[in-house]
């Protein structure tokens, strides 16, 4: 599913309200029958909502694999002394976390391949940072994945690749994906449903073609039809 709208429409705000960064001033957020309003972000993440950030918020000075492994904190339980003494539970969890991280990273094939795992995240290219953000979000074992402009700053080939990747996430990993995107190739390529937003209000919902040609959406993006304007004038 995609969320579209012109700049300042409130798309990222929707993400921040869902993930608990902002508190809704009224109303409620429901996820799988549970209310999310008022919960802190880390608890919402544990309930199965993973997200990426439009402005890329990686843990830059940690290695690539540590970035992913850090995201499993809430789903592991070993206490510090268990880690220090390397007790059975800590070792088992560490093995599982490592395996999960390698699995998630291998989802991106060549791009985040083995030799990159121990490199610091700041050494990655911009597109690879976007991929790593998705990998990190996947490591929280989400049922719902929120991607904030996953194709921003990518070239056409990379954009195409990310579109296919989102489709694969949905089909192979069984994750519901909600995408904010300005690039209509991505939106048309990976969404079953599209919601258009303007000034924080939903103005259209449906299939891509229906929403893309919806008069309210066209007006939000392009302004009034100049011919209609001149007719009125």
């Amino acid at each position: 599913m995609s969320l579209i709208g012109p700049n300042g429409a409130g798309k990222t705000t929707v993400f921040n309200v869902i993930t608990g960064v902002y508190q809704p001033s009224s109303g409620d957020v429901l996820f799988a029958g549970r209310t999310l309003a008022g919960q802190p972000p880390h608890r919402i993440a544990r309930l199965g909502i993973g997200r990426t950030f439009q402005t890329l918020r990686l843990f830059l000075n940690m290695s690539v694999i540590e970035n992913v492994m850090a995201a499993t904190y809430g789903n592991t339980k070993a206490m510090p002394w268990e880690s220090v003494l390397r007790l059975p539970r800590a070792r088992r969890e560490e093995r599982e976390v490592r395996a999960l991280a390698e699995d998630v990273l291998s989802f991106f094939g060549q791009r985040l391949a083995g030799y990159r795992w121990d490199q610091p995240a700041y050494s990655l290219s911009y597109a690879n940072r976007r991929r790593l953000e998705i990998a990190r979000a996947l490591a929280t074992r989400p049922r719902l994945l929120l991607l904030d402009e996953p194709a921003a700053g990518m070239n056409p080939a990379e954009t195409h690749e990310i579109t296919e990747l989102i489709a694969r996430l949905r089909d192979e990993r069984d994750v519901a994906v909600l995408v904010i995107e300005h690039d209509m190739h991505v939106v048309s390529g990976c969404s079953d449903r599209v919601i258009a937003l303007d000034h924080g209000v939903k103005i259209a919902e449906g299939g891509f073609d229906a929403v893309a040609s919806h008069p309210a959406v066209v007006e939000a993006y392009m302004g009034r039809d100049p011919e209609a304007l001149s007719d009125a004038g």
């Binding site: 510090p80 391949a113 080939a157």
Partner: protein, 511 residues
């Protein structure tokens, strides 16, 4: 709205090549044989290195250290332990904790109260295996109590609040319950620490104990660093909002860092108190805090080995070399010579500068002596063979103090000029600057080691910040600072090198 839904053809996989990917990493190495040495050192694992360095440290007293040298070693190890503990809070969790030294004081005072005649008619004389764990648990609770109200603070605000806490501790021990805490007179007559039923009463014993405790602490922290807890700490330092969105309970993780740091500091405090046999409020004041921070930054915040190495190097220079007139002279002239040899290229330029410096010194001495006998009446402050070598090179007049002060002002001006001018003028200015520096050293700096060692530490930190901002053993850090927006509202984050120290790149607290 017409949309072209034709997907662009997938291009070649640029950057997939491993060689390209490791380019930046390779550029981190020093040139030539230094780089080879670095690579060779990197192949040795962390644990063997710790073992070798630990054994070397333990073998050091066998060389026959004197009482002064042993005391310097003990002081250095105490600061190293504190720096390793501070590294948890500052280097990993990224919390600027300026009240850290209070936990050190709490450990020392706690141990002192539990192992002296201070409380009650006969005093409490708990055995070590009870008193040290009690103090450590107490420190963890105190860390929690201090961290709890300040858990939402970051950056400058946390620094101010914890600084108040540190100062409050000194005021507390100075003024509250003088019959128990002793006020400014402190607590004296503290029991020694006993290990496996054997009391440690000699300085050599405490040296060995500190080496063992430091190595064990480093080992524990290494295991912690590579576990989920360590990853969570560093994630919180890098980006609290992203960490929270990745299931990490940010406040709880910060509190844990506070507690672990407090426990290490308190453990150090117990050994410090037992070794000193006495504790005073001034032992836990801001100067100690500055030393711990300087050691941590010099070694590289974020690295366990860096914290320990930085503190050891700093303390050996600060407490050992700079206090003795002979050693400080070697250090001063040695550093100048080393800098010239490393920095001046080609070799011809180095030779010219050195020759000019030597000639200028002798010439100045001869001219000054010819004008007035009083102008060369004083002798250099350095002792040993340095004094003999410098006797006819450095001009030391009879009224050394006044002229030395003026020389110091002139030296600062010359140094500022030296970094501003171009290459040719730098070569010309270098010999007079070095001669003037030796003059100031022999007349003023070497005479007042208490002030000079502070200046030298400042100079070392300034040089370090320029030459190697990540510290001796730290790894390079970058920090995202701005997101310039392009027309479409998309932008690539700009990253820059940070000066080794943890800074709050993201000042907005998301909670």
């Amino acid at each position: 709205m017409s949309l072209d839904s034709q997907p662009p053809a997938a291009g070649p996989q640029v950057g997939a090549d491993e060689w390209v990917a490791r380019q930046a990493h390779r550029r981190e190495y020093l040139p030539s044989w230094l780089g080879t040495g670095q690579r060779w050192l990197e192949r040795v694992g962390w644990w063997p290195k710790l073992l070798v360095v630990g054994l070397a440290g333990a073998a050091l007293p066998l060389l026959g250290l004197g009482g002064f040298q042993l005391q310097v070693g003990i002081d250095a190890l105490v600061i190293a332990l504190l720096a390793v503990g501070l590294n948890i809070v500052v280097g990993w969790a990224g919390l600027l904790d300026l009240g850290y030294v209070a936990f050190f004081g709490f450990g020392a005072y706690g141990f002192a109260l539990l192992s002296s005649s201070q409380i009650g008619p006969n005093g409490i004389h708990l055995p070590t295996y009870l008193s040290v764990p009690i103090v450590m648990i107490g420190a963890a609770v105190l860390g929690l109590l201090v961290g709890w109200p300040s858990r939402r603070l970051i950056g400058d605000y946390l620094a101010i609040v914890t600084l108040f806490f540190g100062e409050a501790f000194v005021e507390f021990t100075n003024n509250v319950a003088p019959s128990v805490l002793g006020g400014p007179n402190g607590i004296v007559g503290i029991d020694p620490i006993s290990v496996f039923g054997r009391q440690i009463t000699t300085n050599a014993g405490y040296y060995y104990l500190l080496v063992v405790v430091l190595v064990l602490t480093m080992a524990v922290l290494r295991l912690l660093d590579t576990s989920r807890t360590g990853r969570a700490w560093r994630a919180v330092r890098e980006d609290p909002l992203a960490a929270a969105s990745m299931t990490i309970p940010v406040n709880r993780v910060k509190l844990m860092a506070f507690m672990f740091g407090a426990v290490v500091a308190a453990l150090t405090g117990t050994i410090f108190a037992a070794q000193q046999i006495s504790v005073f409020p001034t032992d836990f004041d801001t100067p100690i805090l500055i030393l711990i921070y300087a050691g941590l930054i010099l070694g590289g915040a974020g690295s366990i080995a860096g914290a320990a190495a930085g503190a050891l190097v700093l303390m050996v220079i600060y407490d050992g070399l700079l206090r003795s007139p002979t050693d400080s002279g070697y250090l001063f002239y040695g550093l100048i010579l080393l800098t010239l040899v490393v920095k001046l290229r080609p070799w011809r330029r180095l030779a010219v500068v050195l020759a000019a410096t030597v000639a200028l010194g002798f010439a100045a001495h001869a001219v000054a002596g010819a004008i007035s006998a009083r102008a060369v009446a004083g002798g250099p402050h350095s002792t040993g063979w340095l004094a003999a070598a410098l006797r006819d090179w450095v001009v030391v007049p009879a009224n050394a103090q006044v002229l030395g002060n003026w020389g110091y002002v002139l030296l600062v001006c010359l140094l500022i000029a030296l970094v501003q001018v171009g290459r040719r003028w730098r070569t010309i200015l270098l010999p007079p600057t070095i001669c003037l520096a030796s003059f100031v050293w022999e007349t003023r700096l070497a005479v007042e080691p208490a002030i000079t060692r502070q200046l030298m530490i400042g100079a070392i930190l300034i040089v370090m910040m320029n030459a190697r901002p990540q510290g001796l053993l730290g790894s390079r850090r970058v920090e995202a600072i701005t997101w310039p927006r392009s027309r479409s509202g998309r932008g690539r984050p700009v990253t820059r090198r940070s000066p080794g120290m943890v800074t709050a790149g993201e000042r907005r607290n998301p909670f």
